[in-house]
Each structure stands twice: as structure tokens, then as C-alpha cells.
């Protein structure tokens, strides 16, 4: 593989891949928050 094919492939897939993975992680965080919402009792038990 020549240098520029290597460089552009790694750069483009790298940038797109990083963005895609982090976007998916943000969706997973939203899902986790939906499935396990914060309960006000948690704050009370933490204080207690």
C-alpha cells in the first residue's frame, strides 16, 4: 500500500470511527440513564 493511500485511509476511518464510537457511547449513556434513572432516595441515603 502506498504512503498516501495509507495516510488518507487511516485519517478518514480514524476520524469517522472515533466520532461514530463516541456518538454510540453517548446513546448508550442515555439508554443507561433511561433504564436506571436517578432515584431521589439515593440522595437521602447518601446523606444518611
Amino acid at each position: 500500500m502506498d504512503t498516501w493511500t495509507f495516510g488518507w485511509t487511516l485519517a478518514l476511518i480514524g476520524m469517522a470511527g472515533t466520532m461514530l464510537v463516541l456518538w454510540c457511547l453517548s446513546l448508550l449513556i442515555l439508554l443507561l440513564k433511561k433504564l436506571f434513572p436517578y432515584q431521589p432516595e439515593e440522595a437521602a441515603s447518601q446523606k444518611g
Binding site: M1, G7, L10, I13, G14, G17, L28, K33, F36
Partner: protein
């Protein structure tokens, strides 16, 4: 008797007679690192052992990095095996609070934009004639994350380890000087004044505990070559959030991190042997490292502007500069810059979210890079 005395005396002078100009230059460079660490407070935890290691390795005939040298022993055990940076990641995970990110997950995208400097610098390095894997090692300085830079460069270009590490840690400590001019250049005064509301979305303990587990499984499956990086950060974070292994968490963030930081610093210094370090290529690496971190900031702020546009002016583009991994320094820079233009503006929590995103982003970017390299057949499976 007389010849024995002369021979013995000559033995004492061997070090002096073998001292070359290159050794002296390297000892001066090492002294500069010590000065920056001790007097200026720039990353002293690393610059002090690095500087001292560099002095030790440039003492003629001491052979600290010879086959039986004591620094060679630590280098082979911890750097060649990539264990040291991974243990540092364990400590980072145990110290990092991802709560601001969990409260405001869309900000994680700034952590992705803040890594683009890595890939743009890769192209620049290739244009300057660096070999493919050398270019990868140089570009990773843009992760703005010492352990990631050490992990990748020791894997692909160990001969560049010293230059890459010194560049990564030096520029990380210079973030408060590098970022503000770029932030001001790319934003209007009106944008810099945007006040962001308080985001208070409390996160349940279950979510905090599941987060490192889910990230590890998901990201490692997508980028398996980065599993050691992601796994150690998230293991450290799980120890912190679970609250059931306090001893292990404290060990990770204190004893383990401290011992490994010392040994890692010494080992990096030990790679600064005159014949390897005093080359034009080292200057190029330092220059490209500066460009990488500047480009991270440029793309981060531009992405912040895009988010500002898409949210009808609710996001202050300055927080894009915090999408790098220098935690929490980059977030503090954003807070200070924001307050210069709007005294009532508190961007810190938002910037901390972006900064936590940048920490994950740097690890993910390296993981993606390693997996793409594996996919292209550049590195073994």
C-alpha cells in the same frame, strides 16, 4: 608498582576522556527538563525522573541501558511490554469522575473532535517523509495523553519514544499557553460571551457502575486492539464507582500510579541517549507535536461552533477546546477564557464534560487507529 599506579589513575579518568560534546549537550537538555519540572512546576512528576534518567544514560561508560544496566531492566519489563502505561491508565481510571459527562452525554462528541489533530498530523508527518509507523507514533502526540502516546510509540516506533514522550508531556503542560490564542482567533466576542445554563441531571449509582463495563465491552468489540487501553481505564473507574474495593482503588491511584510514574519517567529519560536523541528528526517530532495539539484545539473549537449553530446559540464554542485529554487543565483554560468576556459565565462544568469526553476520546482514537492498522495489515493481528 609505578605502572599499576598510572593504570589505576587512568581508570579514574576514563569517564572524563570518553565524555563527548553530545553527552554534555544531553546533560544540559536533561538539566533543562529538571529546571522546568522543579522551578517552573511543569509536569514535575514526570519531568524530574525523565531529566534524571537522561542524565544517568548519558554518563559515559556507565552503560545504564546496556544489557545488564538497571534502567534496561525496567525498560524491558515495563515499557517494551507496554505494562507501565497500562498501569498508569488504571490509576487514571480510578481518579477520573465521569459524572459531568454522564450528566450531559452529547458533549462527548467534542471529545471526538478534539482528537482530529492526531489524524491530520499523521498526514503532515507522512508528507514530511516519516515512515508509516513512525508517522503514527508522532501523530499520537495529538492525543494529548502521555500514557497513550507512550503505549503507541513504544509499540510501533521505540526509537522515537523519548522525543514523543517529552513532546507529549511538555505540550500538555503548556496547554494554558497554546490554547487561548487559538480560541480567541476562531471565535467572535459574541460567541465567547454565551452563557450556558446549569445542567443538573443527577445520575444513578447503577448507571455509574454500568458505564465502565458497557464502554469496555462495546468499545473493545469495535476496536479490539485498543482493549488493553480501554479496559485498564475502565477497570480503574469501576473500582472507584463500585465502592466495594476501596483498598484496590486507593492502591491504583496512589501506590501503583506513583511507583509506575517514577519508573516510567526514568525509562523515558533512559531512551534519551545522545546518539539517538540529537537528530534533526527529534526537532521535527517536537514541531509536529505542537501542530497536533494546536489542530486538536482548532477542530474542537470549530466543532463547538457547529454545535452552537445547531443548538441556536446555546453552546459556547469555547468549550470545544476542552475536548482534549489534558484533564482538568483544558477545562480550567476554558473557564478562565469564558470569564474574561462574561464575568457571570461559569463554563467549568460544561468544559469538564468535554474534557472527560476528551479523555475517553483519546483512548478510543488510539484504539480505532490500532484496529484500522491491523485491518490494513500494517501491524500483526
Amino acid at each position: 608498582m609505578e605502572s599499576a599506579l598510572i593504570s589505576g589513575f587512568q581508570g579514574l579518568l576514563l569517564g572524563v576522556t570518553n565524555l563527548g560534546v553530545a553527552h554534555v549537550i544531553m546533560i544540559l537538555i536533561a538539566s533543562l527538563l529538571l529546571y522546568l519540572g522543579i522551578s517552573k512546576g511543569y509536569e514535575p512528576l514526570l519531568l524530574l525522573p525523565i531529566g534524571f534518567g537522561a542524565i544517568l544514560v548519558n554518563i559515559p561508560l556507565a552503560e545504564m541501558m546496556g544489557d545488564d544496566g538497571f534502567l534496561r531492566y525496567f525498560y524491558n519489563a515495563g515499557v517494551r511490554t507496554e505494562v507501565f502505561p497500562l498501569l498508569i491508565f488504571l490509576g487514571i481510571g480510578a481518579m477520573t469522575d465521569f459524572q459531568p459527562l454522564l450528566e450531559n452525554p452529547k458533549i462527548i462528541l467534542l471529545g471526538a473532535a478534539g482528537q482530529f489533530g492526531i489524524f491530520l498530523t499523521l498526514l503532515l508527518a507522512l508528507a514530511l517523509g516519516f515512515d508509516k509507523l513512525d508517522a503514527v507514533a508522532v501523530a499520537i502526540i495529538g492525543a494529548c495523553d502521555g500514557p497513550t502516546a507512550i503505549y503507541v510509540s513504544s509499540k510501533f516506533a521505540p526509537h522515537l519514544l523519548a522525543a514523543v514522550s517529552v513532546a507529549a508531556y511538555s505540550y500538555m503542560s503548556l496547554v494554558p499557553l497554546i490554547q487561548p490564542p487559538i480560541m480567541r482567533f476562531l471565535t467572535t466576542e459574541k460567541e465567547r460571551k454565551i452563557a450556558m445554563g446549569v445542567v443538573r441531571q443527577p445520575v444513578s449509582k447503577t448507571t455509574k457502575i454500568l458505564f465502565p463495563i458497557v464502554v469496555t465491552i462495546f468499545a473493545s468489540i469495535l476496536a479490539p486492539k485498543g482493549a488493553p487501553l480501554i479496559g485498564t481505564v475502565m477497570l480503574g473507574n469501576l473500582m472507584k464507582e463500585s465502592g466495594v474495593v476501596d483498598r484496590l482503588k486507593r492502591a491504583a491511584e496512589n501506590e501503583i500510579a506513583n511507583i509506575v510514574t517514577l519508573l516510567l519517567g526514568l525509562c523515558i529519560g533512559a531512551t534519551m541517549e545522545a546518539d539517538q536523541f540529537l537528530q534533526a528528526q527529534t526537532l521535527l517530532v517536537l514541531g509536529l507535536g505542537f501542530i497536533a495539539i494546536s489542530l486538536d484545539t482548532v477542530v474542537g473549537v470549530l466543532f463547538g461552533k457547529l454545535m452552537c449553530l445547531l443548538t441556536a446559540g446555546k453552546i459556547n464554542p469555547l468549550i470545544g477546546a476542552a475536548g482534549i485529554s489534558a484533564f482538568p487543565m483544558a477545562a480550567r483554560v476554558v473557564q478562565v477564557e469564558g470569564q474574561k468576556y462574561n464575568k457571570k459565565n461559569y463554563l467549568l462544568m460544561h468544559a469538564m464534560s468535554a474534557n472527560a469526553g476528551g479523555q475517553i476520546g483519546s483512548v478510543i482514537a488510539a484504539a480505532v487507529m490500532l484496529s484500522v492498522l491491523q485491518g490494513m495489515g500494517i501491524v500483526g493481528g
